[in-house]
Point group: none
Chain length 222, copies 4
Amino acid sequence: MTTRKNSGTATPAKRQRTTSTGSASERRDHLVKLAAELFARKGFQATTVREIADEAGILSGSLYHHFDSKETIVDEVLSTFLDDLIARYRAAVETSSDPRTVLSEMVRIGFGTLEPHRAAITVMQNDWNYLRQFERFNYLVKAEDEVEQIWVTQIKAGQAVGQFRADVDPKLTYRMIRDTIWVAVRWFRPGGRLNTGGLAEHYITVLFDGLATGERTTQRKG
Amino acid sequence: MTTRKNSGTATPAKRQRTTSTGSASERRDHLVKLAAELFARKGFQATTVREIADEAGILSGSLYHHFDSKETIVDEVLSTFLDDLIARYRAAVETSSDPRTVLSEMVRIGFGTLEPHRAAITVMQNDWNYLRQFERFNYLVKAEDEVEQIWVTQIKAGQAVGQFRADVDPKLTYRMIRDTIWVAVRWFRPGGRLNTGGLAEHYITVLFDGLATGERTTQRKG
Amino acid sequence: MTTRKNSGTATPAKRQRTTSTGSASERRDHLVKLAAELFARKGFQATTVREIADEAGILSGSLYHHFDSKETIVDEVLSTFLDDLIARYRAAVETSSDPRTVLSEMVRIGFGTLEPHRAAITVMQNDWNYLRQFERFNYLVKAEDEVEQIWVTQIKAGQAVGQFRADVDPKLTYRMIRDTIWVAVRWFRPGGRLNTGGLAEHYITVLFDGLATGERTTQRKG
Amino acid sequence: MTTRKNSGTATPAKRQRTTSTGSASERRDHLVKLAAELFARKGFQATTVREIADEAGILSGSLYHHFDSKETIVDEVLSTFLDDLIARYRAAVETSSDPRTVLSEMVRIGFGTLEPHRAAITVMQNDWNYLRQFERFNYLVKAEDEVEQIWVTQIKAGQAVGQFRADVDPKLTYRMIRDTIWVAVRWFRPGGRLNTGGLAEHYITVLFDGLATGERTTQRKG
DNA sequence: AATGAATGAGGCTTCATTCAT
DNA sequence: AATGAATGAAGCCTCATTCAT
């Protein structure tokens, strides 16, 4: 029971505990949260199920009342994040604003996930390479593709209407933006000099107007 | 036997094989290279010593004639890369060119390591979090600090002479540049549309002049 | 609650459910039947209580309202069969027919249990070895001994009156007959070429008159 | 290494340890023998790898230096037996004697394996049902089919030349003979009243000439 | 320089059973 | 009569490492 499979969408279907009074699901979610923290801190492989269970104050075997396997847990960590992220991107796109506005918003969304989804993002950064080899995580690649398409579409639209310079590669540019945002999870700590909002604005500045002062001098051949 | 300790510099001393007939050292280097590929592909933890030995056509126990431990191997992978990188940065700085030129060069150096040090960079990206918990890898943090200092110095110098806008945070900006370069190792494949040189130029363009066309509109409060 | 102990007879006493509304006992019997099928198909050890519960549409813990333990369930499967079998043998013996007639009838009885007690016989064949090590299943050996005595008595009687050749070992012969009948459960499937009646007649033919044609040529020394 | 796969023949290929001095293989064979005894006594599932290792005086993990898995061990137990058995049957058939002589010899061969292959036969009897569900043991079914074909061919030949009565079913008769022989492993103990040779002769007597004295009276309808 | 056998610690998982609700 | 959570013991297997040869 509680078997989780990949649905037709980018991420797998969430569990459905029809008989649950809500507290069953809460317990499960709590365990996922604890596990996510450990995965983020130590890495998926280096985190033992015993550590997760210890953190929850139960025995390791008891975890299997809630999850099929250790992988099921990390699956839930990642898919919860991706579901949320993609939903937000879609909403931003649907405002039908001009590309630059949409792109700014998407940058803000990205940085905005840094805090609530810190653990999941960290896991995705560090353990992506390991997890991707398992068939059950194929949906990660699918989700990644969908996200890429959303970004690239906006960049191209911006170039078409003259908001973005035409001599940069859309796909490459997307990757640079994406990487810059997510990798920040490695050093960003809430309560520091800048909050994620500040980070986003800082990045938007550099991204749109560049680091240099004065006349623009670089020239892409295309 | 072949004990490796951290030297006074950023990275630990290289092996000293007194008996080194030349070929002994070559054999060792070869093994390190094989291991690096596996570490990059599967992750440090997920790579077993048996897999490394298999790749070399020997038994796993035989690896211990060459290395104290699995960690010694990854240590060699990482320190070789860091030694090379820092040496190049230092050389760039020592040209005493203006900050913008130096920074451009450093970006080029960064992208330039993507190919020759692909495996090492991948390991550093993916397994940093895990490795850092072991005392023996403290030098990684030291090396990272030294690199940060080199970059931040240049950025500040550029702001001082008016080449870089003053309303961006030097440290934050460094991290964004750094991340963007290294994370490219995840998707960069030699032989694709762009080589690492092209990548560097593309990035330099966006970095200095921004994505937007027309008048600069963003304004940092500082 | 529902403690089952070995009675003075060959097999343990059946459950006594004082509250038995009739439907309670039916529910219990139904569960035993489901379990028997699983035990037969997968083996006692390989069948989990969860599988039994799944089959019944309840949770595994709920089974413990009906049975003390997994062993109690298999106990009921086996003793139900043995009770029935021994009762039938006794009835056959009590007809006081001549030994050959009685023996024929006992062969028919044996094959006749193949269908109604298929699951129980299968379990007995496959898991006897495992179950016998537990004290609670001592009665299995007792029942086996009683059955052996019934058969051997008939064979010896047949030899005494000259119906059976005197140069065969009664105990050995019994075992061969017994084995041949029960092991058939491994391949017998209702609806095939022969029903159990046909099987019995086939076996009686070979058993009494042998496979060979013409003069009898074998000669036992003992 | 030492991967064992099913060859094209009835049973899987034996290991090939080219570099072994013979003692490596001996160690392995010794471990297989110890395991076979335990499997026979307690059943495959009920035997833990720890028990096998204990018996050999090593740690359970050390077993995995010699075998991939617990199943690999039982695989070796069974395939060694089947290889031997089938080879003997083939040799008997190739003497080109008359069917009755060949069949007698095959009965003797069967009983003759009871002692040297007692453990393997016991495992096959008790754990067949469990093991057959795993793909890797498909060859068991194949071997069984080959054996059946050898027997049925002889029985039919005997009927054709008039040595065996024509009104018995060859396949059914084979199964009865087979079962009677193998199931004897459950109660046969070396050193008892009869050795396996005596057992074989006893069975041949009953099999060919029947249990009854006087005129043959049974009549199969065909 | 390498082999082959073994260690020892630990990992993930299974499962019969218990018990409060 | 059943649920849902948990226990506790045990099971199979992995793997870095050691060491005699």
